[in-house]
């Protein structure tokens, strides 16, 4: 995996996905070391200084950074000389290991209380996203086959109860509230859940500052009243150095179990995530990655570590795909793809399913080996709408056999889809080339075990050459696709 890290030229860009800039910084720093046959103390000092800056810029807590740097420095200086690694590679390895240690190992597992309901208490500062996260969490429990009940115990903020009710209606989860007070609402909610056979109770509370002792007492009271199985602290991914203080203070009052990280779809570098785990010893259990209620999932630290190290997050991608794709349909479509009988209808159908997996930009960011330019640029979903519109403006015959599209048909399609004939012909050209390349591949990917990885590589390789035949090739664009998964899939699939 290290061999891949020889960095290609990278350019700064405005929009960055979570952790992406951290990834880039690490890449740059480490690749400079890697080339060296011998490392001086100076080399190490310089590298650790840069890593320190990178972590601080990512809002990792000051003390956590100091610890990380100190450990890394010590290990680098005292590193046993390994025969198989150059000193540079050794530093890379040490940094990788330390980073994984900081992010924490296992994913957080939710187990259900034997005495129903399983009670979840949500706590956090104002504006961290508790109410939205409560609804998203309820949706998640529902997807796990549970029957959640939401409690609106935020009676401070105007209209907070309305907000939770509106969100709950979208996911068809009932909301319990009581105007008398937060503790009463929570207690009543517990009773309601027991009586109506709801097996998960999620208590949304008002945002509060840790210095506000009256409100901290109140949430302690709520906690005493419902005796939660899980207490989650909701933390905004954009939080700075203060995240650690907040977590410590809530932990002192409530005994946190885990953290829910919100607004991860921004360009914050997420240092808070690293720091809380290290300082409070509580992992990030869930992460919210988008505006829709389904943009919420369990957080996998080990996968995130790999993402930071530039390896993508294929496991999550596969999970999401499995959730959305109908197995048989996908297999049939793949079959047709390999046979070269894949139609534009299939394409649109698959594309729609891909989009169900979430934001395209978040899907792209999970793919390994995708160049920064592609990851960083904001994916304009309207482009995809346009592609869809083009296909939908075709006749069934044209969709099956795009070769019949001539000048006048092209003009008609363009008119029908609100695009230009050039856009139509570009899409068709790309589609045909892909289909041809895929057909050619079917022969390559024959038989037995070796087949999987070979097909993979072959496919992408071919795909690239297919693009090479495109009259509109951008010389710089071609390297984007070949990298797409050659490295990445190899990285993860062996573990299968």
């Amino acid at each position: 995996m290290n061999a891949r890290k020889v960095a290609e030229p990278r350019t700064a860009s405005l929009a960055k996905s979570m952790f992406q800039s951290l990834t880039d910084r690490f890449d740059g720093i480490l690749s400079r070391l890697k080339g060296k046959g011998r490392l001086t103390e100076n080399d190490i000092a310089e590298a650790t200084r840069e890593i320190r800056l990178a972590l601080l810029e990512a809002d990792v807590h000051f003390n956590v950074v100091q610890g990380f740097i100190e450990r890394t420095r010590q290990r680098c200086l005292s590193a046993d000389v390994s025969e198989s690694l150059t000193p540079g590679q050794q530093v890379v390895k040490i940094v990788n290991e330390e980073l994984k240690t900081i992010l924490g190992g296992e994913s957080f597992q939710v187990t259900y209380s034997s005495k129903s309901p399983t009670v979840v208490l949500m706590a956090g500062l104002q504006g961290s996203g508790k109410t939205t996260s409560s609804a998203k969490l309820a949706r998640w429990f529902k997807s796990q086959g549970r029957n959640p009940l939401l409690v609106a115990a935020d009676l401070q903020r105007p209209a907070a109860v309305d907000q939770l009710q509106t969100l709950a209606k979208q996911i068809e989860v009932p909301v319990f509230t009581a105007p008398e007070g937060a503790i009463e609402a929570a207690r009543g909610g517990l009773l309601e859940a027991q009586q109506t056979g709801r097996d998960v109770l999620i208590v949304d509370t008002a945002g509060r500052l840790t210095v506000d002792s009256a409100l901290m007492d109140e949430i302690a009271g709520i906690s005493d009243a419902v005796e939660p199985d899980y207490t989650f602290l909701v933390v905004d991914a954009m939080t700075g150095q203060d995240a650690v203080n907040t977590a410590e203070a809530f932990h002192a009052t409530l005994e946190l179990d885990a953290v829910i990280l919100t607004k991860l779809d921004g360009d914050a570098r997420g240092g808070a995530a690293l720091s809380v785990k290290e300082v409070v010893g509580r992992p990030v259990a869930f992460a919210s990655t988008g505006e829709k209620l389904q943009d919420f999932d369990q957080f996998h630290p080990e996968r995130m570590a790999e993402r930071i190290l530039g390896m993508g997050d294929v496991l999550t991608l596969i999970e999401k795909a499995e959730e959305v794709f109908e197995q048989e349909a996908a297999e049939a479509a793949t079959q047709r793809l390999l046979e070269g009988t894949f139609t534009l209808d299939d394409f649109v159908e698959q594309l729609r399913q891909v989009r169900q997996m979430g934001d395209l930009s978040s899907i792209v960011s999970m793919m390994p080996g995708i160049p920064k330019e592609v990851k960083d640029a904001d994916v304009d979903e309207r482009e995809i709408d346009r592609v869809e519109a083009i296909v939908l403006s075709m006749t069934p015959e044209e969709r099956i056999n795009p070769d019949v599209v001539d000048g006048s048909r092209r003009a008609r399609i363009a008119k029908g889809s609100g695009t230009t004939p050039t856009q139509v012909s570009n899409l068709l050209k790309q589609f045909k080339e892909m289909r041809k390349a895929m057909k050619g591949l079917a022969g390559l990917g024959s038989k037995s075990k070796g087949r999987k990885s070979r097909t993979k590589k072959g496919k992408k390789g071919k795909k690239n050459s297919a693009k090479g035949g495109n009259s509109r090739v951008q010389p710089k664009e071609s390297p984007t696709i070949p990298k797409l998964d050659i490295d990445g899939l190899d990285l993860t699939l062996p573990g299968r």
Binding site: G127, T132, Q163, Q241, G266, D267, T334, L351, A377, I384
Partner: protein, 374 residues
């Protein structure tokens, strides 16, 4: 073949194919940008507002109207509130003050600044200059260095923080509140409304956050509390039209100032930023006139605050910053970077939970409260 693998291949293919035209454009744009530094791509109007999905986190700041904090006046309040936060750093400050000027003191000051979210770049820069001054003037005690630090930071904060309540061209003055989710836009509007209502001005609130569940209800309660008028649309309505309606209503009813709420949005969502740019353009049409575009920033925000300020400025020409929630252990050091790199002055500070505790920003007090240890 096993299915997950098949599916991943599939996904990759579909996405790759779908993104080709876009990737191509992204490339040409990027290359183009290198030549002419600032060509912001403006897509065609027609399709611009198709995707109105905003983030929808709670936009709450500390709006417990139950407790009004009227006893303390603004500046005192700022000091008292930040004092709470200061306790955490006061030990460090004491330590520095008692120190002699040796290499260690710079590390301690660095820690102090970083922990206040001032940011690596600004911190390094500040210390370099502080160090030069200290050597120049032969400062020998930690206390002297600390005083110099405060002086230096105060002088670097901008002085022009006037809020424009009068439209130069005579239109209805409109203030637009923008920012990421959950920073306290709606609450800040409520507090500004309260403040100007108390001064006897006629205020109208425009519920331009048509996306987040119950955002308009939240603003409605603020309107009631501050005796302001309210114009709202239905949930999911076009925010531009709501705000335009508000400015027409304001002109008809002789309102002095329109405070327009907008939905929270992450600054890296292109479509949503385009939507916001349109809101600003429409709000600026007659009879309205945009006088202030206030970016609301949560004081607990880390280095991302700079990125927020940059993107929002690019999209809607922000005229000032409202720093909210400055009453916890928050520090708000990011405003130094924002003021310095983008020239955006902080105009208002939200200090706490009462509805009268949004005060004018005072740089001297702010610095004093952060690094003062008297």
């Amino acid at each position: 073949m096993n299915t997950p693998f098949l599916i991943v291949i599939f996904v990759l293919l579909m996405v790759a194919l779908a993104l080709l035209p876009w990737a191509h454009r992204a490339w040409s744009e990027r290359n183009g940008r290198a030549d002419s530094t600032k060509t912001s791509p403006i897509p065609d109007e027609g399709s611009m507002f198709t995707d109105l999905e905003h983030p929808e986190t709670s936009d709450d700041e500390l709006n417990r109207q139950t407790q009004g904090q009227q006893s303390e006046s603004g500046p005192d309040l700022l000091r008292v509130r930040i004092t709470k936060a200061r306790d955490l750093v006061s030990n460090r400050l004491k330590d520095i003050r008692g120190d002699s000027v040796d290499p260690q003191i710079w590390e301690k000051i660095e820690e102090l600044l970083i922990l206040a979210d001032v940011g690596v770049h600004t911190t390094m820069d500040t210390i370099a200059r502080l160090r030069a001054t200290a050597e120049d003037r032969g400062l020998s005690e930690g206390g002297m260095v600390l005083d110099q630090l405060k002086l230096q930071m105060m002088t670097e904060l901008s002085r022009d923080r006037a809020l424009r309540t009068v439209a130069p061209k005579g239109g209805v003055p409109i203030w637009l509140f923008v920012g990421v989710n959950g920073v306290g836009k709606t609450t800040s509007i409520g507090k500004v409304a309260r403040r100007y209502s108390d001064e006897g001005r006629k205020i109208l609130l425009a519920a331009g956050d048509t996306f987040r569940a119950a955002a308009a209800e939240q603003l409605e309660q603020w309107a009631l509390a501050s005796e302001a008028e309210l114009v709202r649309g239905s949930e999911g309505a076009d925010p531009s039209s709501v705000i335009y309606d508000a400015s027409e209503a304001a002109a008809a009813r002789g309102v002095d100032l329109v405070l327009a709420d907008t939905a929270g949005r992450l600054h890296n969502k292109v479509n949503l930023m385009e939507e916001l740019a349109k809101v600003r353009r429409v709000a600026d049409r007659e009879p309205g006139e945009v006088c202030e575009v206030l970016l609301v920033i949560d004081a607990t925000t880390g280095q991302n605050g700079l990125s927020q300020a940059r993107e929002f400025s690019d999209a809607v020409d922000v005229t000032g910053v409202v720093l909210t929630k400055l009453d916890g252990s928050a520090k708000g050091g990011i405003v130094f970077a924002i003021e310095k790199e983008l020239g955006l002055p902080v105009k208002l500070v939200g200090l706490g939970e009462g509805d009268r505790d949004l005060v004018d920003f005072d740089p001297d007090l702010f610095v004093e409260a952060l690094f003062g240890d008297e």
